[in-house]
C-alpha cells in the first residue's frame, strides 16, 4: 500500500527572534511550497530516501553523535506506533529553499509524521501532530520557539506566543479576509538558525537593557499586524513590515544581502519589506497589492545577483 503525507512551508510575517524571547509572532503557511512523503511497504525494513538531497538513511537511536534525520526518523516511527523495524520505505521531496526560515525542517517533520501515520492507518489529532512535531523539531533545532511547527501543522495564518513563566502559550488563527500577496526573495547563501538564535540570546542576556525594549517593540508590532491582517489593510501592513525590519536589523541579524533585497523591493514599489526567518543571509518578504504587483516586485528582486524570488498568495 501507499500512504502520503505533506506539509506546507511558511513565512514569518512578524516577530522572528523576539518570539524566542516570549514575544508574540505571526506566521502563515505557503500554498504552493512544502515537503511531502510517500510511504510504501518494503520488506527491506525502514528506510528514508531523500533523493533530492542525496540521502538514504535508516532510523537511528537518540545518540547525539548521529545525524538529525535518522534520529528524527526513529522518533517519528515510534510516535505513530510503528516498530523500529517497520517494513516501510519513505520517500521525501520538497521544494522549499532550505535554511532560510521557510520552515523546511518543520515541514519535513510534519510531512514525515503525516505519511507514517497514514501508513500505520492512524489518524492524528492536531494536538497529537503538534506534540510529535515538537519532538522532531527538538532534534533539528534544540530549543525551537514552536512557531514554525505550530504554523506548519495547523496551516493558515497563526498568531503565536510561546509559554512563559508568567503565562501559558497562545495559539490563535488569524482570519484573512482576502489573499495576502507577497514577493519573496531568497539568497543563495543560507544562515544557520541555531547559531544566530544562540548568539543573539547570549548578547541579549549580557545586555538586557539594550535588547529588551527592541523585543517588546517587535511584539507590539505583531499585535498591530494581526489587526491589520484581519482588516486586510495592506498599506498598513507594509508600514509594519518596514518598522519590523528596522527592529530586526537592530538585533544584528540582518546582512548586506538582506538589506539589498529589502531596499530593492521598496524601490520596486512594494508597500513595505522585511527580513523573514532567522536572517544571517536568508530571505525577505515584501508586501504587495495584488498578484501582478507581487510578480513585478519578485522580478525586480531576481535582478539582484544570487537572488531567487517568487510571488505568492497567502490564504487563511
Amino acid at each position: 500500500m501507499t500512504a502520503t503525507g505533506a506539509a506546507p512551508g511558511k513565512v514569518i510575517l512578524f516577530g522572528e527572534h523576539a518570539v524566542v524571547h516570549g514575544q508574540p509572532a505571526i506566521a502563515c503557511t505557503l500554498t504552493d511550497r512544502g515537503v511531502a512523503s510517500t510511504c510504501t511497504a518494503d520488506a527491506d525494513g525502514p528506510r528514508l530516501d531523500m533523493p533530492e538531497w542525496g540521502q538514504s538513511v535508516r532510523p537511528a537511536t537518540m545518540d547525539r553523535a548521529v545525524e538529525a534525520v535518522p534520529r528524527a526518523f526513529a522518533l517519528a516511527l515510534a510516535f505513530v506506533g510503528l516498530p523500529p523495524d517497520a517494513q516501510v520505505r519513505v520517500t521525501m521531496e520538497g521544494n522549499l529553499p532550505p535554511s532560510v526560515g521557510m520552515g523546511s525542517s518543520a515541514a519535513f517533520s510534519v510531512a514525515l509524521l503525516r505519511g507514517l501515520a497514514a501508513f500505520a492507518q492512524r489518524s492524528l489529532t492536531d494536538d497529537a501532530l503538534l506534540a510529535g512535531a515538537t519532538q522532531l523539531e527538538g532534534v533539528f533545532h534544540g530549543d525551537p520557539s514552536g512557531l514554525d511547527h505550530t504554523t506548519v501543522a495547523l496551516g493558515g495564518c497563526v498568531y503565536f506566543r510561546r509559554a512563559r513563566s508568567d503565562a501559558p502559550s497562545v495559539i490563535r488563527r488569524v482570519p484573512l479576509p482576502a489573499p495576502v500577496h507577497l514577493a519573496v526573495g531568497v539568497t543563495a547563501r543560507a544562515g544557520n538558525t541555531r547559531q544566530l538564535v544562540s548568539r543573539l540570546k547570549a548578547r541579549a542576556q549580557t545586555d538586557p537593557r539594550a535588547f529588551a525594549p527592541v523585543f517588546d517593540a517587535i511584539g507590539a508590532l505583531a499585535d498591530e499586524g494581526a489587526r491589520a491582517l484581519e482588516a486586510g489593510d495592506w498599506p498598513r501592513l507594509g508600514v509594519l513590515f518596514d518598522v519590523n525590519h528596522g527592529l530586526v536589523n537592530a538585533l544584528g541579524v540582518s546582512t548586506l544581502a538582506c538589506e539589498l533585497m529589502v531596499s530593492r523591493a521598496r524601490d520596486a514599489g512594494a508597500l513595505g519589506a522585511k527580513l523573514t526567518g532567522a536572517g544571517g543571509g536568508g530571505a525577505v518578504i515584501a508586501m504587495c497589492e495584488g498578484e501582478a504587483h507581487a510578480r513585478a516586485v519578485a522580478s525586480a528582486l531576481e535582478a539582484l545577483p544570487e537572488v531567487r524570488a517568487f510571488a505568492t498568495a497567502l490564504h487563511a
Binding site: 501507499t2 502520503t4 503525507g5 505533506a6 506539509a7 506546507p8 512551508g9 503557511t29 505557503l30 500554498t31 504552493d32 511550497r33 512544502g34 515537503v35 511531502a36 512523503s37 510517500t38 510504501t40 530516501d49 533523493p51 520505505r89 520517500t91 521525501m92 521531496e93 520538497g94 521544494n95 522549499l96 515541514a107 510534519v110 510531512a111 503525516r114 497514514a118 496551516g155
Partner: protein, 430 residues
Amino acid sequence: MTERDARLPGFYKLDPDARRALLKARFGLSDDDLAVLDDGGALTTARADKMVENCVGVFGLPIGLGLNFRINGVDRVVPMVVEEPSVVAAVSNMARVVREGGGFTGDADPPLMIGQVQVLDVADPDSAVRALQAARDRIIARANAVHPNMAARGAGAQDVEVRRIDAPWPMLVVHLIVDCADAMGANAINAMVEGIAPLVEELTGGRVRLRILSNLADRRRARARCAVPHATLAGPGWAGAEVARGIEEAWQFADACPYRAATHNKGVMNGIDAVAIATGNDWRAIEAGAHAYAARNGRYGSLTRWWNDGDTLLGEIELPMAVGTVGGSTNVHPTLRVLRKLLGVESAAELGVVIAAVGLAQNMAALRALATEGIQRGHMTLHARSVALAAGAEGSVVDEIAAELVRRGEVKLGVAEQLLAASRSGERAS
C-alpha cells in the same frame, strides 16, 4: 442534515415572487439570499470584470428548480440554470415518476483525476519507463510538495502510471493520479504536473512538452440508477408496459447508432449542464469527459442504459463527473452560495450523484416523450380511421380523412363529416 421535502405541489402555478417566498419558509433562505436570486442582480459588472478579460457586462440566464428528486433516500430540490424550455419540467415530472418506485440510487468513484506529462525525444523508452516506475514514490512526493495542503488533508497525488505511445508519433505519457477531495482539481493538478516535469525529464532523458490535466476523468465516474414499475408509466391513451418497451427500443437506437447517440446524449447533457452551471462547475469539462467516455469502446454510444425486467423499467447512467463543491468560481459568484444552500449537498461525490440522476431523469423524459408520441400517434391514427369510417368515408378517402383529423388534432365525428362533405363537393375545407 435538514429533512427536506422535494415535492412542492403547485409550485409551477405560482409567480416567481411567490415561489421565492415559499423557498424562504421551506429552506431557511434569508431576504438577502432571495434578493440575490432576483433579476440576476447578484453578479455585478465590477466582480465579473475580475473573472474574464475585456468584460462589458453580465449575462443572465433563468434559474429553475428541478423538483421531486429523491436520491439515495434524500429529497433534493435541484437548481438548474438553462435557457431551453421544458428541461426543468421534464426532469421534475420524471423525478416524480421515479420517486414512486423509491427514487434514484447512485454512487460516485473516489475523486481521482489524471494529470498528463508528455515526454518527447526519449532515446531508450524501455529504460525510461523502468526509471519512471522505480521513481514512483518520488514523483508522488514531488507532486504533493507543490500542493501540500491537499496531501495534508489526506488527498493529493496517489499514483503514477506510464503510457507508451509508439504510433503515429513516439512519446511517453506520464499519468499522475490525484485525489482531489471536494475540489474539481484543475488548478492543483496543473501545478502538480508542472512541478514534476523537471524530475520526469531527469528520469527519462527526454524533453517534456505538455503538462496538463485530462478531462477524460474516467477514474472519477458518477452513477445513478432507477427502477420504475410499469404501472407508474401509464398515461391517458397508453399502457405502462407499452411506454417501457418504447423507452427500451428508443435506447436501443441510441446504443446502435452514433447519429442517434449524439442527440440522445445531448438530451442527457441538457439536465447535467444545467446543474453544473447552477453549482459553479465547469460544464465544458463535464461535456468533454462525457462524450470522450461515450466513445471509449471505439464507437460513440449512449451514456445511459434502459431495459425491462418483468414489469419494471430499469435505467442507469454512468459518466465521468469532475465536479467540486469548493474552489473555482464557487467563491466569486454570489448566486452560487444561495443555490448551494437550496441543493444542500455536502461533498463533490454527493453532487456528482445528483447531477447523474438529473441526467438520467432528463434522458428518461426525452425517451418517454419520443416513445409515447409514437404510441399516441399510432392510437390516434387507428381512432381517426374508425371515426372517418363512421362518418361514411370509403376506400382511399378513409386514410385521407383520418390523416387530416390527426393533423388537426381533432379526431371528432363532426369534423370528419365536414371533411367528407367538402371532399365530396370537390373542395377542401380550409
